[in-house]
């Protein structure tokens, strides 16, 4: 088991290190070792919090302190994809 992480848009470009013909999402299965929160995933790929907009964990709109575990699906969107009916959502955090 692992965590399925999907990076979208410019973050797919950054993580895949491709400039053109990027696939969005760029999907990775990552091991859980050293990964407790969303913030740890960002750190692992040198992504600043300010580079992100929407984050989902198993379809739940999540914040940086949302815990992640084996089998989770995580979607991370870049700052310039912040288009959401965000007034229908609040970020879920665990700590």
């Amino acid at each position: 088991m692992a965590i399925l992480v999907k990076f979208f848009g410019d973050l797919a470009k950054k993580v895949s290190q491709k400039e053109t013909r990027i696939e969005s999402p760029f999907s990775l299965k990552i091991e859980t070792q050293g990964i407790e929160y969303i913030a740890d995933i960002l750190k692992k790929y040198s992504i600043e919090k300010s580079e992100t907009s929407h984050i989902f964990v198993n379809g739940i709109y999540a914040g940086f302190r949302k815990r992640v575990k084996d089998g989770d699906r995580v979607g991370i969107f870049p700052k310039n994809m912040g288009l959401l009916y965000k007034w229908y959502f609040t970020r879920v955090e665990d700590d």
Binding site: I22, S53, F77, N80, L83, Y85, Y88, F89
Partner: protein
């Protein structure tokens, strides 16, 4: 239209602060019998630019079209972004009211110039696709005109028909799509309105200093915000940026609302589409009317940059794509072209095809088959007549019980089980299931109560406030997407309100105007026979959990009724 006569009326003082939706809904409410047949002589069709439309205020080229809807049986306002209302506003025409009904089968075009209004017989265009017709009309009248039309679906009196406007390339791709107003236009024997604003005096701005201050603040906010700035979300990916986002939220309906997520959605996402346009040709970003600084639009084409379609919006990509299990942008592009060509609302068309798929008429995922189905409408066959009337009618015809509609109008691209607040708006807006009705100024600014947790069921106050704010925005002529910048940047909202007040020369209260619009619309619907029982979500969404969240729509009817205190 009964005698093919036109006349001008002075704009009543009591309407002085009205434009867009506020004006269409007020006129319809005052002049249309709520119990009339929507396709009979007593319905009226009203076109109104927004208050600010036709000025140099950014992103303000919206038109509202109103009437009694043949789809819902209630009041309808559908709006579109196009240069048509900018010309009308510059000619100082606050509204066009189309009334009466001619005897016989003739169709006419209404041609409006600064010194002349005339009817021209339009029979030669009947039964023809709008792409070729628009080419012919622009060739005849030149590029200094704007054109609105009803298509073949309207000629069929189909309740899924929209009213078509041109984009800047002259493509028939900008729609006041919802509610079957194309059929109302056709029922009056009106095929086109052509507007030539040569020599127009321009919009009268009562307080230019205030207007200029306001529009500059708004322009700055739009230029700064991540969603609306020149290289922001909307310019980069268009509205279809939402495909992957809503899919991750588990709220992108698949296969006629059978699931809220499918990884194949990535094949039809905004990112994928933007990449494809770079490769095949077409245009992105693109404005739907001059003066839009957000530029969410685009021109999608066939490979090689051939045969431009126009924009593939998020709602259209979803309706004609994921909702029908079609995950191929070329198929979706051709289905969108067929809708534009036939004068069909893409959302209603997608819901209808999905329901027909569920009813066994064709298989889910069959993009080519879906295109053939569109030909039934083009040929005006009995099957085409069923489909042109939308998903609820088609559901009845095919014995399908899983029909995603409120007040007869098909759902847009958000599953209300995963995102309950929008479900409350679908249920309670006077328009029938409509995503735009609650898409506006946010919680912080409006002081909205309730909670923004998408799975929480306490949503009545949130939905009410969003609907009220949207009604204001729909009346100004500003595009709904200005709301993103206005939401996060307080000077943006201040600028928006100042610019509107600058045009009017008086202060208009956002909440008061918005509430007045909704009250007018709800009163019309009540008089047309609507009750609280019409503000309900279809039964199957309360019973079938949606994957992957496992949620059902569990907002109580009492909570729904609290939205308007019914």
């Amino acid at each position: 239209m009964s005698k093919l006569e036109t006349s001008f009326e002075d704009f009543p003082e009591s309407y002085a602060t009205l434009g867009g939706r506020a004006l269409t809904s007020t006129i319809v409410s005052k002049e249309v019998d709520p119990t009339c047949h929507p396709l009979g002589p007593n319905n009226k069709l009203v076109f109104a630019p927004g208050i600010i439309t036709g000025t140099v205020a950014p992103t303000s080229g919206r038109i509202s079209v109103g009437g009694k809807s043949p789809l819902t049986g209630g009041i309808k306002e559908a709006n579109a972004g196009t240069d048509f209302p900018q010309r009308l506003a510059r000619m100082q025409i606050a509204a066009i009211i189309v009334e009466g009904q001619p005897k016989g089968d003739d169709y006419h075009m209404l041609k409006i110039s600064i010194d002349k209004v005339e009817f021209i017989n339009a029979n030669k265009y009947v039964g023809k696709g709008l792409y070729q017709v628009y080419k012919d009309l622009f060739k005849e009248f030149g590029n200094r005109v704007s054109i609105c039309a009803c298509g073949i679906a309207g000629e069929l009196m189909g309740a899924a028909s929209g009213i078509c406007f041109n984009d800047p390339e002259g493509l028939p791709s900008r729609y006041a799509g919802r509610g079957g107003l194309g059929a109302v236009m056709a029922s009056k024997g009106l095929k086109f309105i052509v507007v030539d604003d040569t020599g127009a005096p321009g919009v009268e701005i009562k307080n230019k200093e205030l207007f200029d201050q306001g529009r500059e603040k708004l322009r700055k906010a739009l230029a700064e915000h991540d969603v609306t700035k020149p290289d922001g979300a909307l310019a980069s990916y268009g509205t279809a940026v939402l495909v992957n986002i809503i899919n991750e939220a588990g709220g992108l309906p698949q296969r006629n609302f059978s699931s809220g997520q499918d990884d194949r959605a990535a094949n039809i996402s905004g990112e994928k589409k933007a990449e494809e346009i770079k490769i095949r040709g077409g245009t992105r970003p693109h404005h739907c009317n001059p003066g839009c600084v957000i530029r969410c639009s685009e021109v999608w084409t066939k490979p090689g940059g051939k045969d431009p379609v126009g924009v593939l919006e998020y709602e259209s990509v979803w309706a004609l794509g994921a909702n029908c299990s079609i995950y191929n942008l070329d198929d979706i592009g051709e289905l969108n072209r067929a809708c534009n060509d036939l004068g069909l609302d893409t959302i209603e068309a997608g819901d209808t095809i999905a329901v027909a798929m569920e009813g066994g008429m064709l298989k889910f995922g069959d993009g080519k088959g879906a295109l053939k189905v569109m030909d039934e409408i083009r040929k005006k066959t009995p099957t085409g007549r069923i489909l042109a009337n939308g998903c609820a009618f088609t559901g009845q015809a095919f014995g399908v019980t899983r029909v995603p509609a409120v007040k007869g109008q098909g759902f847009p691209a958000y599953d209300p089980r995963a995102i309950k607040g929008i479900g409350v708006t679908y249920a309670t807006t006077p328009m029938g299931a409509d995503h735009t009705a609650g898409y506006a100024i946010a919680t912080e600014i409006m002081g909205v109560g309730g909670t923004a947790d998408p799975r929480d069921t306490n949503k009545s106050e949130l939905s009410r406030n969003l609907q009220v704010a949207t009604a204001y925005l729909d009346s100004t002529g500003y595009c709904l997407f200005t709301a993103f910048a206005v939401l996060d940047i307080p000077e943006g909202l201040e600028g928006m309100i100042q610019s509107v007040n600058g045009v009017l020369g008086k202060e208009v209260d956002l909440t008061e105007l918005g509430m007045k619009v909704i009250t007018t619309e709800r009163d019309f619907n009540k008089a047309a026979g609507f009750t609280a029982a019409d503000d309900r979500i279809p039964e199957f969404l309360r019973q079938e959990p949606v994957a992957p969240s496992g949620e059902v729509f569990n907002v109580s009817n009492e909570e729904l009724d609290k939205v308007w205190g019914a």
